[in-house]
Amino acid sequence: MRSRLATAAWLYLLPAFVLLGVFLVYPVANTIYLSFFSGRDMSTFVGFDNYRYLFTHPETLVVFRNNLLWLVLFTASTVTLGLILAVLANQVRYEAVAKAIIFVPMAVSFTASAVIWRFMYIYRPPGSEQTGVLNAALGSLGFDPVPWITNTSVNNYALIAAGIWMWTGFALVVVSAGLKGIPAEVLEAARVDGATEFQIFVHVILPMLRSVLLVVAVTLTINSLKVFDLVYVMTFGNFQTDVLANRMFKEMFTFGNFGRASAVAVMLLLAIVPLMLSNVRRFRREE
């Protein structure tokens, strides 16, 4: 009886496990293996050469720097903005509308968002009429227009801003749900004790949102490491804006170098493994 039950259970699991095995587990292992090879047919063993290349070439070092920029700025901004907006929106009657407005970009593709933001950043030489919102605004304040996409000292921030526009809604919605979970009596008690709203925020709300904020931060960190579409469509990684995921795509299809592409992917995995373990650990604790 028991063994028959177990057999039935395996039948329920089989399709999922076959798909996961063939399209996720095996390919990950194979990619790690391939990262030590090179050549068109991936038959030449090259040891750590592909990795050595990544860590010694200026062009790929920029990729690491950019992912670090994304990781820090994108994650910090989306979480902070999401938290602030959640707390502010929580106090007004049109909260649902405000949240929906911030959240809408989440429903749209990165590709469409990339078009939207390229349009925002249109640059025309000084003296001609600016048709991009940002440069027109700068012009009306008396500043020269900035080539947001091609100027290497601002373009990474310009791309990250587009990412923040897309993902703040995610942080907002999740934090807001956490906020609703704080019992009103707790906040009332603090108010009765004479705490100011700011003290309540720092000493009551923040500690109670700690685990929610952590979940949001981990999710957004993972997204910052995997960012691809925005960069691919906005710059294709040119003008020193390349990131790991786009670099991998380039190594694959522009340079036809599967070994090096695999090494780039493995770097991505190494960055994500700690976050994966923290997710697994938290899940076990919660169960």
Binding site: L5, A9, W10, Y12, L13, P15, A16, F17, L19, L20, V22, F23, L24, P27, N30, L85, L88, Q91, V92, V97, A100, I101, V104, P105, A107, S109, F110, T111, A112, V115, I116, F119, M120, I122, E129, T131, V133, F170, V174, G178, V212, V215, T219, I222, L225, F228, F236, L244, F249, M252, F258, V264, A265, L268, L269, I272, M276, N279, F283, E286
Partner: protein
């Protein structure tokens, strides 16, 4: 007496309104700021080519009014966005159904069947949740190439289904384990089979979770660029809208009358789904995030 109270509360209300002025101003300003980029795209997509090229979209509301549907006509027919719209549907709809069905069976087994090592196996699924698909592209592409599947819809259906499974199994399993235990156990005692319990009890009770997952997964696939780019190989006949738009960007990077209309065509369906079914979409996100 009553007049006094009213006066008092009214002045109190005034003070309150004034002191909350900055709060409202901040929220409304941020909301306007957030809408601005999409608004610019939307307005521009209806402006004639010359007008877009020579003036900012915010000038469109001053006379002379110049609006047109020509951009849409052009992207839908000449630039292939009409075909791409159908391709996006052809990719996203079946793959969503496959993901939900396969995940539902697995989630049921994880929740209500006895399997040795069940918890460890499920932890593997939790781990797979965050594995970047970049780690799979090369081996899977080589597999598809040797099977002659590159550039075909079945290739992306398979890949999308597999990639969507960790999240789908995770979400559904968390919902299934929370179903009332007594209900299922009494069904088993009466001799109901697993298949019967699955279809007659678990599925009907899980409509909200299935809806949330389906909407989330559909939008995710609709918006995908990477998987389509890699496994469909950029063939125009099978390209979804994301691929077509990114091709338009690289070949007509400053033809904004085309790009704005094309981008908006790709946004129509997600926006409609979002506004009609926002609750389910948000539930999908919360279910994935709060525990994940």
């Amino acid at each position: 007496m009553s007049r006094e109270t009213v006066a008092l509360t009214r002045s109190e209300r005034m003070v309150r309104a004034v002191s909350r002025g900055p709060l409202h101003a901040a929220i409304i300003a941020i909301c306007l700021l957030w809408m601005l980029p999409s608004l610019g795209l939307f307005v521009s997509s209806f402006r004639p080519r010359d007008a877009i090229a020579s003036s900012g979209w915010w000038t469109a509301f001053t006379t002379p009014f110049e609006f047109t549907l020509a951009n849409y006509e052009q992207v839908l027919s000449a630039q292939g966005m009409g075909q791409s719209f159908l391709n996006s549907l052809t990719i996203a709809l079946p793959a969503t159904v496959f993901t939900v069905v396969v995940a539902a069976f697995a989630a049921y087994a994880f929740s209500w069947m006895e399997i040795p090592g069940r918890d460890i196996l499920f932890l593997v699924v939790v781990g797979l949740l965050v594995v970047p698909i970049q780690l799979t592209l090369i081996p899977v592409l080589r597999m598809f190439a040797s099977a002659g599947l590159t550039g075909t819809f079945p290739a992306v259906w398979l890949a999308h289904t597999a990639y969507g499974l960790p999240f789908a199994v995770f979400l559904l399993r968390n919902f299934f384990v929370a179903l009332p235990k007594d209900l299922l156990e009494s069904a088993f005692l009466e001799g109901a089979s697993h298949l019967r319990v699955f279809f007659r009890i678990v599925m009907p009770l899980s409509v909200p979770a299935i809806a949330a997952l389906s909407i989330f997964q559909f939008l995710w696939l609709w918006n995908d660029l990477l998987v389509a780019l890699v496994y469909l190989g950029g063939f125009r006949s099978v390209a979804p809208m994301t691929v077509t738009i990114s091709n338009l960007v690289s070949s007509f990077g400053s033809e904004w009358h085309l790009l704005t209309a094309a981008a908006f065509v790709s946004m129509v369906l997600p926006l409609a789904i979002f506004f009609a079914l926002q609750r389910y979409f948000v539930e999908g996100i919360l279910a994935g995030a709060v525990k994940g």
